[in-house]
Symmetry: C2
């Protein structure tokens, strides 16, 4: 019997789970209906389309959502909880959805530190609490990668890096993309190791090393098949340097990290992090569902 319907509703896609009272996953769904694809912002209709059948056959089950669905562009804005925060703090701040009293949204997390710009996450906090870790560095690679410090079971710091989006816009719209051929989606692409090595060497900064994608091509050191992988290695290497520098400023020298995310990308990060002396563990696929279940329990929704 369904005890909870859990949804991780992001910008470009969503995932939904049906869970029983013990937290076992009964059913999984993926949908491309990310919040930016919801026509006219009609979230009640999109919600019906995605999980309406589940809701109908599980009359008692609450629905808990996390991710960009709680942003200003989502169904209803769920104000950020402030860092440091644990799962219990999020459970106390669930946002109600007007017109549908079965649905609640987990707040995102914000971080404000002296002399630093603010930072935010929505959805990643729920994935992390799904891991139920005591102390760890958790890295969530992606469009906007997150490095997250877990201490005493709560998130005490995090930082976002625009790695994925910078790669994407340079690949598709800059002069660097002109001489690139598509690299395979899986595995470590050709050229990646060279780009990573150059970035980790610290021999040149990010804006300077990006130009080397072009010059190495000009000088025959990099083929068109290797350029995209090289650029990816440069940017992931730059993120790792920045992440480690940010941790060093906090007197933290990590030896290992937990990776959360899509298979191909976390494998790439794992291969990169080991070059920087960081051993990695890759988390399973369903940490959002586990995080939503944990928070639902704490909020006594189930």
């Amino acid at each position: 019997m369904t005890a909870l319907i859990a949804i991780d509703w992001g910008t470009s896609s969503l995932r939904a789970w049906r869970l029983d009272e013990g937290g076992e996953i009964l059913e999984r769904r993926r949908d491309r209906l990310g919040i930016l694809k919801v026509e006219g912002g009609n979230f009640p209709a999109a919600f019906d389309k995605v999980v309406g059948d589940w809701v109908k056959v599980s009359p008692g089950a609450p629905v808990l959502m996390a991710g960009m669905i709680g942003s200003r562009q989502g169904w209803v804005e769920a104000p950020y909880a402030t860092c440091p925060a644990n799962a219990g703090a999020l459970a106390e701040k669930l946002a109600a959805v007007p017109g549908n009293d079965r649905v609640r949204i987990v707040p995102g997390l914000s971080l404000r530190e002296a002399e630093a710009a603010p930072d935010v996450m929505r959805g990643e906090e729920t994935q992390i609490f799904g891991l139920d870790l005591e102390d760890a560095l958790v890295i969530l690679p992606g469009t906007h990668s997150k490095w997250t410090s877990v201490r005493g079971g709560g998130i005490d710091w995090f930082a976002s890096f625009m790695t994925g989006e910078v790669y994407d816009v340079l690949r598709r719209h800059s002069i660097l993309g002109r001489m690139m051929q598509d690299a395979p989606q899986d595995g470590v692409p050709a050229g990646f190791a060279a780009g990573l090595r150059y970035a980790l060497s610290g021999r040149a900064g990010t804006l300077q090393s990006l130009f080397s994608t072009r010059t190495r091509g000009l000088f025959g050191e990099l083929s068109e098949q290797e350029s995209a992988g090289y650029l990816s290695g440069l940017l992931i290497g730059a993120e790792i340097r920045e992440g480690l520098a940010a941790l060093r400023a906090r007197k933290v020298e990590p030896k290992d990290a937990v990776l959360v995310g899509a298979d191909a990308l976390v494998n790439l990060y794992a291969s990169a992090l080991v070059q920087a002396g960081i051993a990695t563990t890759i988390a399973g696929e369903d940490c959002s569902a586990r995080g939503l279940y944990r928070i639902a329990r704490m909020a006594k929704l189930i």
Copy 2:
């Protein structure tokens, strides 16, 4: 009487000058016919269109060109001279243009250093030699900014930064651009000082600080009118940090620099460099013409 027709022929535009025997500029031209806009790569036709009238009425005058016209995508590839190089070294390596024995092209410069990626310039070397400096740091802001070290009258080192292009693709194609309103073209744009200050503080690396354009917007610290200026300040600040770090690795601590380029941009860089403790001098508009004249003299074309 015309003694030299000088052309700085770049990717997206060109400038041409008619000079007399003493190097005085008799006439100037600008044209949007950059090498990527020359239909079917028909450079002889484009050349006729741009300065055909000058060539006709100046039967004895040689034509000297610099810039991307000497690249693989240009009229004829002028092999790079290697750094360190002075104006005389370029004068010895002028490339001939098949089918037009009045036209020659100044080679670009390449730099190869141990453990570093290669770097290249085309056109900037001629601008710099037009300044006729003995020892200086010359910065040429733009799509691919160049920091150039002049020692004993020659160029002994340089570095390229993709600042302008990264700004452009993020502005036009990333999530950061979505909440930006156009900033005025001239003067220091609103938000620039805040972005510059954050980048120069070193509080966050480049990929991390880019995300602050978004979060400061979310938290009301940055208006839509200020976001583009803030992003520009972040990136120019990042370039300055990288440039100074690269010089520091060469045991150079510059106190001043010469800026070469378009008015609005060099003024922006001047305002930024002073925040990093670098006093600047802004070079005049015609250094390409002066460089081409100097090299033509050394090559005994005139």
